[in-house]
């Protein structure tokens, strides 16, 4: 089971990185989203996969009987998903505004803040 999750996380990372090295900012944002999901899946997997054993305390006991699933990684992922959702929503609006102001979604066209012209000033 772990190996399947590991491969899926790896594929998500690889796809995300591939999309991010493309020149289109739309693909970059998709890449970021995949990278975030890859990280979430990674946390889920390294937090140990325990199927079918929710961390409930049975009647008459004072602690859950091991082995139980660790709820903390899932809480972490939940938080990370919410944060990722907010940030990606912002990023989508941002690329729309960038497209409107720059008139292109090509990152190679977005170099004015990095360039110095021959006369030493700003383009």
């Amino acid at each position: 089971m772990e190996s399947v999750f590991a491969v899926v996380a790896g594929v998500l990372y690889a796809t995300g990185l591939y999309l991010m090295v493309r020149r289109s900012i739309v693909k970059t944002i998709f890449g970021l989203a995949l990278l975030g999901n890859g990280a979430n899946l990674l946390i889920f997997t390294v937090g140990r996969l325990t199927a079918g054993r929710p961390p409930y305390i049975p009647f008459g006991e004072s602690a859950p009987l091991p082995p139980v699933a660790d709820p903390l990684p899932q809480a972490l992922i939940l938080t990370a998903i919410v944060i990722g959702f907010g940030v990606q929503a912002f990023a989508l609006v941002l690329i729309k505004r960038v497209y409107q102001t720059v008139g292109s979604d090509d990152v190679d066209k977005m170099t004015t803040t990095d360039t110095i012209t021959d006369h030493g000033g700003i383009p």
């Binding site: 990278l35 004015t112 000033g121 700003i122």
Partner: protein
């Protein structure tokens, strides 16, 4: 008494909420954020005094005992940083009274600035790595919006680079947190420190350390991960650039220092050379980038990077003196750099440009503004008796003591190059005669009415004077920094304060 730790979080939060409630009343928002920043400074000062007298303070939210609950903890280093955050918040709030565009205020400049301060204070005070991630994101999302606010082409281009690279850093950070949890089973920093000290943990710790170093390295803008910074910082309004330069990269450095002193303190010898190499390259590349620039804000943005190199150098040397030097350097560079940016903002308002080719003659027309620039410029370069001299002296001394001669040489060389590029600004913008204005670009004579002038000059002058005071009376500052460095190197008090038990 330990509930004091909540104040630096509650004050900016309450201020931000009040500003949101007063959305259409910009005059009231200004007053509220000024009051909030003053209260934050006060809280930071009280916290620093308390930590100084009573040792490391910690508080568990909702009384869930560590390592299960949400922990806030303040050692001297974090208390100093919270205090500095308060000073910077207030300085920028005063400056912004005179220098915030109405359209920025309409888009929520004041609440966003407070949320930024909230994220920064949270990062300094948290005792849990996952919460550190959350605070980082709080800080980042506010900074994203502040940076993109202008809506012009430069803002947008700067923002897209900043956002993308910082989100990559965040996902690396998140992955590192996840793997660390898988290895150690806890994310409480004190608990991690205790577990690793007793060597109860085995696993891919070097991998985790490198992931953390890369993630925080992007945020702190170290070589070769700094390219987002000079592309983005100079596009924002001066007040925003100042607070970014003062706090955001420093939070990255703070996190690096905390992680490497508390958690990855094993195999120190193995990673020290790499950190020192990164430090040296960051200094040199940053200052070389600055020399190539002909616009004041871009030039100063590159200097942020080169100064980060010095901070990382202190971490790489990892002695009591070098860490104290780093903390002293951090206070010094925040004050000096912010004063330079604020003075640049005054130049922009007075001359309508910050391009060195078009500037000139300011020393003749504005001798006071020239002095406001000159003082922190000399401090940044490390001219005695200003603060930069003592900061660099401690680092160089620590480097010589440990026999790391190459990085010491780099530090000294970069000092000279820093002085060179400061002289370049000085001679181009302040000394040389103002170039004849071209016919094609008629310049509207920019003016700065008296009240605005003093609102901008007061925080600039105060931060500049701070560098002078720190230089003339370094003793109490160094005593504080040495104490903070001892706490970093010997975290038994930190662990005891969080987990209980005798140190």
């Amino acid at each position: 008494m330990n509930h004091l730790l909540f104040l630096p979080l509650l004050i900016p939060l309450a201020t931000a909420v009040s500003c949101l409630a007063l959305w259409h009343r910009h005059d009231l928002q200004r007053m509220v954020s000024l009051a909030g920043a003053s209260a934050l400074l006060l809280a930071g000062g009280t916290l620093l005094t308390a930590v100084r007298h009573r040792g490391v303070l910690s508080v568990q939210a909702g009384n869930w005992t560590a390592p299960f609950g949400i922990t806030l903890v303040a050692d001297l280093f974090s208390a100093v940083m919270v205090c500095v955050t308060g000073v910077m918040g207030l300085a920028v709030a005063i400056y912004a009274l005179a220098d915030t565009a109405p359209e920025d205020e309409r888009q929520g400049y004041h609440p966003l600035m407070q949320i930024l301060l909230l994220g920064v204070c949270g990062s300094f005070l948290t005792g849990d790595i996952f919460n550190l991630y959350v605070w980082f994101e709080t800080m980042l999302i506010a900074s994203f919006v502040l940076l993109a606010m202008g809506g012009k082409r430069a803002n947008m281009e700067g923002a897209i680079k900043y956002v993308v690279l910082n989100l990559i850093a965040s996902s690396l950070f998140l992955a590192a947190v996840g793997i660390l949890y898988g290895v150690a089973g806890t994310l409480n920093m004190a608990d991690l420190s205790r577990l690793l000290r007793d060597a109860e943990v085995s696993g891919p710790l070097p991998v985790i350390a490198i992931l953390f170093f890369t993630a925080f390295g992007i945020k702190a803008a170290v070589f070769p991960l700094f390219f987002w910074l000079p592309a983005a910082y100079h596009t924002a309004p001066i007040a925003v650039t100042t607070i970014f330069s003062a706090l955001l990269t420093k939070v990255g450095v703070y996190a690096l220092i905390k992680i490497f002193t508390l958690i990855f303190f094993n195999e120190t010898e193995a990673w020290q050379p790499y950190i020192l190499a990164v430090a040296g390259l960051t200094m040199v590349v940053g200052v070389l980038g600055a020399i190539a620039q002909h616009e004041m804000r871009r030039l100063l943005s590159f200097h942020i990077i080169s100064q980060i190199g010095y901070l990382i150098m202190g971490l790489g040397l990892l002695t009591r003196l070098s860490l104290a030097g780093t903390i002293y350097f951090m206070i010094h560079v925040i004050a000096a750099k912010s004063a330079l940016f604020l003075a640049t903002g005054m130049v922009l308002r007075l001359s309508g440009t910050t391009e060195l080719k078009k500037l000139g003659g300011l020393y003749r027309t504005q001798p006071f503004v020239s002095a406001l620039f000159l003082l922190p410029a000399l401090a940044l370069a490390g001219i005695p008796p200003l603060s930069g001299f003592w900061a660099k002296l401690a680092l160089v001394w620590a480097g010589l003591e440990t026999g790391r001669f190459i990085v010491v040489a780099a530090a000294l060389l970069v000092s000279i190059l820093t002085l060179f590029s400061m002289i370049k600004i000085w001679s181009e913008a302040f000394w040389k005669a103002r170039p004849a204005v071209e016919e094609t670009a008629p310049q509207s004579a920019p003016s700065l009415p008296g009240a605005s002038f003093w609102l901008m000059a007061a925080p600039t002058g105060f931060l500049g004077l701070t560098t002078a005071v720190m230089g003339l009376y370094p003793e109490p500052f160094y005593a504080l920094c040495l104490e903070a460095a001892s706490q970093l190197l010997e975290p038994t008090a930190y662990i005891a304060a969080v987990l209980g038990g005798t140190p």
